[in-house]
Subunit: 216 residues, 8 copies
């Protein structure tokens, strides 16, 4: 009838301490970074704005402008391999956020960008490469009609994590249409994270790889 | 500064006088049918319920139970050719409504049913057949994630008319998700009609073929 | 059981390689333009912002500020004829995007702007002109209550492609109301593209004209 | 600093005591009717179901099955004149509810049914008749794209009260699309009541006529 | 079978030629104003931005900064009387737009501002004044929960035109909640115009007064 | 670093063990009731359907058909006093669910039903009675435009718990409009529970009264 | 049949006269403040922008930048005690608005910030402290999935007032998701105020405490 | 430049051929079952209605009435282990669908039902059991506020697959609120499938386990 939190602590280990910079001031972000550096603690910042990136750059963190991330050290090493597909060139920032997070968590990343279904022949080469690589899971980042995860899950037998993006206009509804469209595909081995949440997809991919590695 | 309606009448010719039976009583439907038969006027009924179909069957109209349609004669003959694709077996009723309407309007129909993108290899044979046939336009009926029109329009250079269906559950929202998803694909040569509106898609396909045939 | 992409290639030919500039930087846009010029390849840019237009102007592309487009050469010549109607003066930008795209694809364009249904008598003259011209399809751009395509499709027997615009306020919902309203009219020979998608409407109109011209 | 309700009572006079039967049992409805008859008090029932109408019929109230109303006596006599337009044959029940309410309130009713904009020439005759009649206001009942009030308000200078109906499918959203569409037209002299609310439109029309008659 | 537009013209007379400045450039607005002045034609501008107002001020039009309107002359004189209620101090701009439009159309305006239902005692005095004035209709402008029209229509027997405003936050949804809430009150003699549409409400009020005045 | 659940148990005391019958079978409900009777444990059933009520009646539980509840014994006695207002006669079932729950929890209930704002004079007498009674909180049940809580909170200084109901049509959206409308009034001392949730409102009212009684 | 407003006045006492600065100009805000100071009247400003705060600072009002509030004096003293929980660090501004309002109304405030359910162990210490303090009600401010009020109400027997915040992205919908999620928890003793409405939650908490204190 | 489908076939292997019975007739379902039995092919039916289950029972398939599934044989054996949590007793059917699918795919299933966050102490025992079992992933089925996946993912380091259910009322919106709420938690290692999609969650869990087992 007691919870001993310690009993659960080993379960919690391994999740990244990431800082969602969007709702923080420049000063708060800098202070968090300095503390981490001082204590030599790996840290990842996401959703940074231009101004925040300029400051973190001075502290010589590893900045990815496209991804709007900064990281200091890595949290883990050699934890597995993940493939990241993106549909359009405009989805690249979310894909890059996933990539940065995955690498921070020790995953090796295979990138296949700009392979959307409008020209389905572009998918063939990536899929052949994929079939020869030893990846644990696939992240698929797509906006618009969001058909890419469905198509990929139709030809591979790996877990596919779909990330809808808010890129689009008209009936896109800030990504809700893409999200809903992707959720229609769940029966074929697809799960979905929140709109633009490249970070969350990578954490999930890491948890799969971690489980594989830890399997007794 | 005057409209002479006669000037416009030749423009209006050719559109079907169809009866949307959904909001009509059994008695109203039967009466409309009897009048048409008496005057030997071609007529098409859509969205009939079971009871209405039983009555129209007695008048020996041509019933299609899957499509929930009945027709008496044809409005036109040899007006062109259209291909109708459907994604899932559950989209068949809407596809059949399109087929019945198209035939009533004198179009020849090529059917490719149950070729949804979850197993994209199923699309290959139909597309090869298609490339050897002389069709004027393509109707694509799909529910769920609605990716099929987008994929097809990516490989053909014909007008693609997409029909979202209300088949699905959860985030499907009675077809709105499929509709919105399809509208995201419009740049590649796709237009969309209302949810479950196989009738409207066929009328539009007919107008394209009619224009081709009438071209001076 | 093989796809030979070459078998499908002739199907794909003819669609424009257009650049949606909205999610691209000024630098990316300029580079794409320079490459096209160097290789003497026709190209069309849409949804340019002011800054991007200034740069493309220097490269002496053909800029249309209202349409927010730029084009270099034409992709095709003499492919057919399309009429473009717009309802209000505020819908003009979307109508112009359609016009630029249509001309890039070799279509001749008849413009009837600012003829919305609030004053239905304004429609009469355009419809009389129309009935004497040899157009293949009609693009109707409208915001607000979106009634124009429905009214036009009621008096002509050509395919009508409706483009809802996001102009309006209150219950307009960024064009969704107009879109939904237009979809209600699909039975009379109307299909719809995404909100503000003048480009997509013109590509579709081109595919109709192309089919007419290619008809064996 | 006091309200003397009596001071306001003369303002309130004249509004009908109507019974919305939808959320009441058969027994409740019958009892209300019996009381009214006993006291010789005029009464109007709306949104009756079949069962309730059968009972009220026995009490020899004036039943209108299409309108789903029943009335006993009239509340007023000779209060003015109203025109009621309806777009499709399926909008007739709502139009009839408006008619019954209007007559209960002493208005004379001109009916112009099934004159929707899909065939705009059907509007001409009604409008010419209208221009020769001395009506105080116009009620326009329409479903689907809801363009009719907008078109009528464009050619007359009377107050137009629009009633959206829930008839339609797909993107109709139970009438919300029609409602929103109609609200886009408000600038030209149109106001709107709730979906399917023929009753409310007639009460409002009555208030206009009442004001006209009472004008000192 | 002909429309003679002239037959309808006398019906159309009297509606204001108003300019919705929101989607127009400063230059366009100035030009329209200059033309009107030159031809001594009454004109009303609505939804002006700061910059546009500065320009029109130079042309010595009658500017109302709160209402964001400008007018030149009046279209009519002595057409009737309207009362305008507003609920909160923040609804004042929409109420002022209604007032300016009403005056442009020759209506005399009684203003009762900031009398929202949160403190219902504030309503008493205005209602007593109202009962002694000879007004033709009532415009009620309200945001938030939108209860004011319902309360007023409960105690007066005049047509009440409700204008929902977009003032509020959280579940206000840009005025949609207020709009829907108001539509629930339609049975008691209320009709509604689009969100923030003070202009439309005043045009409608004018049409009522015009009808009263013209009554044979 | 341990939770000892016992430390928290005294905090949890007092909340009712209520059975939401809606998603349970007749058999499950009967069994739960029999167990409670056997152990002489007070129990409350809500959202019962007709069939379930018939069965519980046989076990001689206390049935309230309007409220669709059944109770066995009371959980508490003399815990305080609550006033329950309802706007329309159709909101009575939700009001009765609140009443039954409140009484089960030992609250004395003052009922003021059918006092909606459309006729605001009906509110005066209840408010005067209220001002002489010693109530701890007020529950206000309302559908449609939901203005009643706002009006009441404007004249009393007690906590007002608003319950939106799903009664209404058209833009009512199953109660969402009423809910949103009520949330706009929160600044004046109103909080809201879920649509039709009379049960939750009464539990909350009980917690207020319980706190008053327990106050050291 | 008369309302004597005086009869109701004693009921109304005690509610704060607060100024929602969001829709007011800098000048209006300063004038209201000066009047209050002159008359030595307590006053509270909420939702101030930076500019407005700078001006009020000069008048030496008590500014809380995080809360975006300013206050002059207190309206009441020693009225009771309230606990305020917040889930994430980004919800702090809304929590601070609640705190400022509560203190203005004489409540003592216990703060437990940044204790969201993602790490449920963080909740244990606050709950133990709470169980030893004599608080009258609990305000819980949370964004995202909004689970915190539900979890807290599961272990305490005090009224819980939930405040959804608009913090989040993707499917957060400006706080609507959090709001709806919280409304699902109402059965266990939770009520909800509008999104970001810390002010309203504190007024309600004050009304509970006031009732406790006034209890005869 | 060729796809050789055979190259991809080994990738596709292992996904279940499941039959979504919802949109099929009784006859179609029986025929599919008979074919499978004849060819000794494993098969799984989901979303069966009562009538369909009666027929399949006669063919001695393995029926689970709660889950509304039927299966014949298993597709795989000993593929791994999954834990299934459910929040309320009403979510059981979806949890059972997941269980049946998982077992059909050879997974061993640990069930922890009815452990929702309203009484968080109910979670402790399951979590302690879990920490001693060798599970590959966790499926969490929940309706209402959907907080359970978030709470669980906060204390374990395994992939958590969340399944929102459509159980609830009022603001539940058929499960959309729960879905959106769950998507807010994605950063902590949660992904989501469509509403009520127990089947899809189990397929995904199987793909994770399969990858673990196949890991070279
Ligand atoms: N890009 C991102 N998208 C979603 N969540 C994130 C992202 N980056 C960090 N987070 C999460 O946001 C939380 C930080 O919230 P806070 O306590 O406000 O700093 C952590 O739990 C992170 O796991
Ligand atoms: N299946 C259908 N879907 C949509 N519209 C249809 C369908 N069948 C007929 N219609 C149209 O519905 C209208 C008939 O409406 P009504 O006047 O109510 O009979 C005609 O204009 C038809 O073109
Ligand atoms: N009318 C009602 N509305 C909302 N919740 C209720 C109602 N009646 C009972 N409940 C709650 O529903 C839960 C019962 O859920 P279950 O475990 O499925 O029986 C309990 O926590 C009750 O407090
Ligand atoms: N932060 C706030 N959120 C919601 N309502 C507020 C807030 N601050 C003040 N109010 C209310 O807003 C009203 C002021 O509106 P106004 O008459 O426009 O100044 C008063 O009734 C206040 O109780
Ligand atoms: Mg691309
Ligand atoms: Mg299939
Ligand atoms: Mg115009
Ligand atoms: Mg008709
Ligand atoms: Mg005020
Ligand atoms: Mg009543
Ligand atoms: Mg935090
Ligand atoms: Mg339970």
């Amino acid at each position: 009838e007691n919870i001993n939190i310690d009993h659960l602590r080993h379960l919690r280990a391994g999740k990244p301490e990431a800082v969602l910079a969007e709702f923080k001031t420049k000063e708060e972000v800098v202070e968090i970074a300095k503390n981490a550096i001082e204590e030599n603690r790996p840290i990842l910042f996401t959703r940074l704005n231009e101004e925040q990136m300029v400051e973190l750059d001075k502290l010589s963190l590893n900045i990815n402008r496209k991804a709007r991330t900064a990281r200091y050290l890595k949290l883990h090493e050699n934890t597995g391999k993940v493939a990241i597909f993106s549909a359009g060139s405009s989805d690249a920032c979310v894909a890059e956020e996933a990539k940065e997070t995955a690498e921070f968590l020790g995953l090796q990343v295979l990138k296949f960008y700009d392979v959307g279904v409008a020209g389905i022949h572009r998918l063939i080469e990536p899929l052949e490469i994929l079939s020869e690589e030893d990846v644990d899971s696939i992240i698929v980042v797509a906006g618009m009609e969001g058909a890419l995860p469905s198509v990929i899950a139709g030809v591979v037998d790996l877990p596919v994590i779909a990330v809808p993006t808010s890129v689009g206009y008209g009936t896109n509804l800030g990504g809700i249409t893409t999200l809903f469209s992707m959720l229609q595909s769940c029966s074929s081995g697809v799960t979905v994270v929140n709109i633009d949440n490249g970070f969350g997809a990578a954490v999930f991919a890491y948890l799969i790889s971690r489980r594989i590695r830890k399997k007794p």
